[in-house]
Symmetry: C2
Subunit: 208 residues, 2 copies
Amino acid sequence: MHIAIPLFPAFTALDVVGPYTGLAFAPGFTTTFVSDRPGPVTDDQGALTLTATASYDEVPRPDIIIVPGGPGTTDALSDDGLLNWIKRAHEHTAWTTSVCTGSLLLGAAGALRGLRATTHWSLLEQLEHYGARPCEERVVIEGKVATAAGVSAGLDMALTLLARIRGEDTAQLVQLVIEYDPEPPFRAGSTKTAPPELVERARELLSS
Amino acid sequence: MHIAIPLFPAFTALDVVGPYTGLAFAPGFTTTFVSDRPGPVTDDQGALTLTATASYDEVPRPDIIIVPGGPGTTDALSDDGLLNWIKRAHEHTAWTTSVCTGSLLLGAAGALRGLRATTHWSLLEQLEHYGARPCEERVVIEGKVATAAGVSAGLDMALTLLARIRGEDTAQLVQLVIEYDPEPPFRAGSTKTAPPELVERARELLSS
């Protein structure tokens, strides 16, 4: 199966690399990083540059698309090249997926109408603009559309999809190979478990 | 604080991006990706290329080094440029760290002698070659040396370090911003919880 992952300026790197790792470590997947044109694309921290090896036009019909999010989503929402690529690819994909605010891009491309979907916790209501029903879950699957919550949720989504595509055995094998037995040092990863004042601080930080 | 992350051919991308995300999302960190010379370096899947923006010589005294692992570690173990850089940087770092088989590189550079350390579960005993005491924990901290278990453990390590460097509040803030509230779909991420036949299959896959 052929995976295509679009890169746009100020994407979040873990949105890309988490799900890439969850799927690409299984046999039988090839991944192409795409952008408006082949070349380097720099992340939201300005420190990490990934290489797109193909333009959107060169990869019109991938089996799976994984759309990352990040601060760059705001500008990407008016990137017609990207949105048209998502729209057209979605007509033929086996899976159309996103991580974090990548779901807003799926929404802007018309792929979420009438569907339950998720995104980063701080922007959940924005999904309504695109006719989606916001859903505070880590991974939401509706037909062939899978959306993951913020940043680190892409790996959970990828293993969930891998189990559907190749079976639970393969998904568990990849989980063991990448030793995904998480032990976050704190319980602050969700608005449900983080102290309320921390949620406020994070909201301010994210909206600044 | 200045973080330097070395890139060598066939590194594992999540080993790099996990801990980068855990630290770089906090204020006050800058990250430089280094290699034998500036330029593109491709990962273990041959699909993802990251850019090193400086040579080892150009970044002799970072505050933190994060050494990734991956199949490329085998060749990197005889890369004198990399090993000498680790050795010299380690003399001045605030933190010397690794993810997955990156700890074998720390070991080869002489940074683990007499210390408890961890690595990918399948290669744990190899640490003994470098005078380290293998330790089956997700994150092992000995003085200023932190080693993380396989691939996905780098994020847990980074948040643990961030709490020590900037305080628990900041680490929790980053955890919430990246919504790190993991929900792996299976309990197969550790040899302690995965079915024994899966562990054997993974071992065969990794040694092939």
